[in-house]
Amino acid sequence: MSTTEASITIPKLQGEPAEKKMVGRSVKPRKDVPLLKGAGIFTDDIKLPDMLYAAFVRSPYAHARIKRIDASRALQLEGVVWVLTGREAARQLVSWMNKPGLRTPERLSLAKEKVRYVGEPVAAVAASSRAIAEDAVELVEVEYEPLPVVVDAERALEAEAPLLYEDWGDNVLYREEFRSGGTEMAFKEADLVVSERLVSHRYSPTPIETRAMLADYDKEKDTLQVWASTQFPHVLRTFLAQVLDYPENRIRVIAPNVGGGFGIKSAVFQDEVSVVILSMKLGRPVKWYESRNEHMLTAGHERQQVHYIDCAVKKDGALLAVRDRIVADFGVSGTFWTEVQPAMLTAASLPGPYKLRNYDFDLLCVVTNKAPCGPHRGFGRPVAAYVMERMMDIIARKLEMGPEEIRLKNMIDVKDMPWTTPIGVLYDTGNYKDVLNRTLTISNYHELRKEQARLRKEGKTLGLGLATYVEYTAPGSGRLQGPLGWSVGGWESCRLTADPSGKVTAQLGMSGQGQAHETIFAQIISDALGVNFEDVRVMEGDTQQAPYGWGAWASRATVTTGGACIRASRKLRDKVLLIAAHLLKEAPDDLDFKGSRITSKRDARKAVSFQEVADVAIRFSGRLPQGVEPGLDLISFYEPESPTTCSYATHLAVVAVDAETGFVNLLKYFIVDDSGVIVNPMTAHGQVHGALAHGIGGAMFEELFYDGEGQLLSSTFVDYLLPTASVMPEVVVDSIETPSLTLGGFKGLGEGGAIPTAGAIANAIDDGLSEYGVKLLELPITPERVYSLITTRER
């Protein structure tokens, strides 16, 4: 097998030869070299004098009352400094979401009266070494009174189900209804109604670096410094200030190298708060590096939903209306700060790229005795794409249409853009049919179909599965604070500073976890400002240096921070031109600024270096034109013009199925995507590859499996399988670039690869096994699930 990548079109900006631009080039990431040498510093690599290590006592029960906690034996162990319990210092984790009907569950940093899932933190130990802290955990005696457990969301809705929060009277965290108006009528007009129950399971992003935090409270200075493996340092700072009731301007949060995030690190869980409380109480640095087992028990569970969907269609395949009832299993609650957003996004994004005018949904978010539901690369959208794309194939088969045919029939045409979905999401730009057709072309789809027929005669099974989606990326403040009810901004920031030597530093409110931000934003700034790429340094992840920002989530970094970089660059450029014009005795409009040099358009001999302008602005400010302030230092904020940008792609999975065992072999995987203008094709495709692996893992390997007592059976990597190099298919990625309406034309792409994957693979398996009448409805696609579908020959 070989790995290929089709070439990608490099955008040409008006009037500029493409080769002079940095945007569009595959520049190698700058941060790589230290990482390659093992010199990149991650949170657990930091050691401070006098530092203590935290470890947690966690509930072995899924639901129980805490009768008694006795830490005396633990406190006697040499090296143990303190054992914190909920009675001493439990803090409620705040919520930033306010929607009518959204309940506020008890969410304490340490459980006080009651535990509601296995792994919930009950006490926090601080000791002189990690091993001693772990020894002490075993010595803390906790007496529990077990309570009845409910692990299944549909069972949790039954009248006699155990209640997680007694005062609620039921287990419903949130409910939402949407009616677009014409749905009932459309169902009456349908030639065919197709109804299914589709199930998506619980899995987790599992970055290889688990959660990590080092809190250092300085009693003398009364300051708190926190190093955290986080995707949103500023949000974490505000959160800590609120939860601990401590002045925010005395907190500094630093995200050093972060070993992968994928959503989970844009959440704050219970344990992290106790690490800070321990440091503040003891006046010493306290470090916690989560074990994999703890991570599996507590962090990043998402996607567990049941859908009861009805589709109204015409004989020609036209989709008239969709009705969906969604039961989303949130475990004990949502996490800070996304709460019930993942399931809301599932419901919102279900229509995908289709001309669907009538859409009703009922969303029920239910609590169960499992770990809280947190953000996970794809964020609700993979479930939507799974449901919709399965339905497309199921309908196509009923109507004896090809899977590509029914999609092309229903896709929004380019002439209908911009398009507004029934719930009011505006699709800005895109050409869905073009991307689908291009997928068919690059994959030699029709040849693959012939190959399939040939193999079938030999008794071999080859399956082709298409799936598509529209991803709402970079939501703006209007959408976040309006329909989503969220106290979150959709903007980002960039502070640009030039020094007398003519070098530029950008401080970003954004924070990365391996997306090459230091490189791609330098590419953007270099083009927008006119300064050489090598002279632009990009820094992130320190709240004391960078302006406020919201972090890397919703595939938003390039769109929002990219825009902020362009805006800051333009502002700085204007000032530079003003100064240069004065120095050159020219009008600013008559000047060119590129390659760190400002030149007269009329007379190339009249030129000044950016370095000299910067030096004038700072050290020789007496030479500044009148009324111009000294310094080259400014901050810009950028909020995308569209309510959301819309990336999309078509995926094609090619699989072989061993009908005797149910084993599925991923042979080849094609992706054509449109993420708007691509800054760095190499790193962009890297994002797509990685997201695809998440999608494949979720579709086929990864499952957080709870037994009836609420015990997590896949609580280490021994039982929770991440895909390895040996199971990844050959991947072909191709892109088209339809610029979005934002500054820079970016759309964002970090999550897309993970969105339609389960749908594409399930469709491929169904397709390959069509002779058996197989219909895959539940995830994950385990060998046994496929085998039993074949042997029972459903339908």
Binding site: E134, E660, T661, F701, S714, V718, T724, V727, T782, Y787
Partner: protein, 289 residues
Amino acid sequence: MNPKSFEYHAPKSVAEASSLAEEYGMDAKFLAGGQSLIPLMKLRLLSPSHLIDLGRIPGLSYIRDEGNHLAIGAMERIAEIARSDLVRKQCPILSQCAHQIADPLVRNMGTIGGNLSHADPTNDMPAVMVAAGASIVAASGQGSRVIPAGDFFVDTFTTALKGTEILVEVKMPIGPTRRGAYLKLERQAGDFGIVGVAAVLEMSSDGRCVAAGIALTGVGPTVVKATRAGEILKGVELDKNTIDRASRAAAEEAQPSGDLRGSAEYKRAMVEVMTSRTIQAAARRQAER
């Protein structure tokens, strides 16, 4: 995650290791490569007070051709077995099995002795040993004895070794008429298998099967010897019907229980499929030397 504290012993001879085991009894565990033991200790599912490291006893890592068998030292790394030309030529089933154990890095630490004495029903080596009728040499301060592989695996994590005995050598029968294969159904490299099947056939010159050993991984409290399946193959030509009957018999002999990797029914069905494939793979092999 760290193990609980323990006292560490690094004996220089088998006799010394054995006497340490006698002294500390149930509080002690032998450490070979540690690839199963150390994770269990880190998860604190096992917390021995004394760890007796066999890694510094000289002369326990070797692969020797002894004519009618390969003698393999207990501390021989799985990776060395996997990359040994001698093993590949003389005993392909063993090579094939070694390649399927865990992943390349774990194989670099893991030992054949550890794999066998851990007696995890999902470990792969036991089935190969039982199918091949291998012998296991156990030694203590008082001398040594040979235990047939068929008698070695008693129950989950339990072998016929006495507390003071150490597995020191494996004797793997070889010969020009023996053909063996080990196939495993696993979701990906490094995962525990769903089922594994070892088949060793003794073939006559006219292409009949003179004797057959079939053993199963992952479908019982310990390795399962599919005796009836072996008997069905004995003395007959390996046609489809015979292989089908033997495979069905193996499935009946399996004692699977359900877990995350599959239900008991699925595993039983997979024993049938994999037994058939393994017998055919073994039969296809050229004579082993």
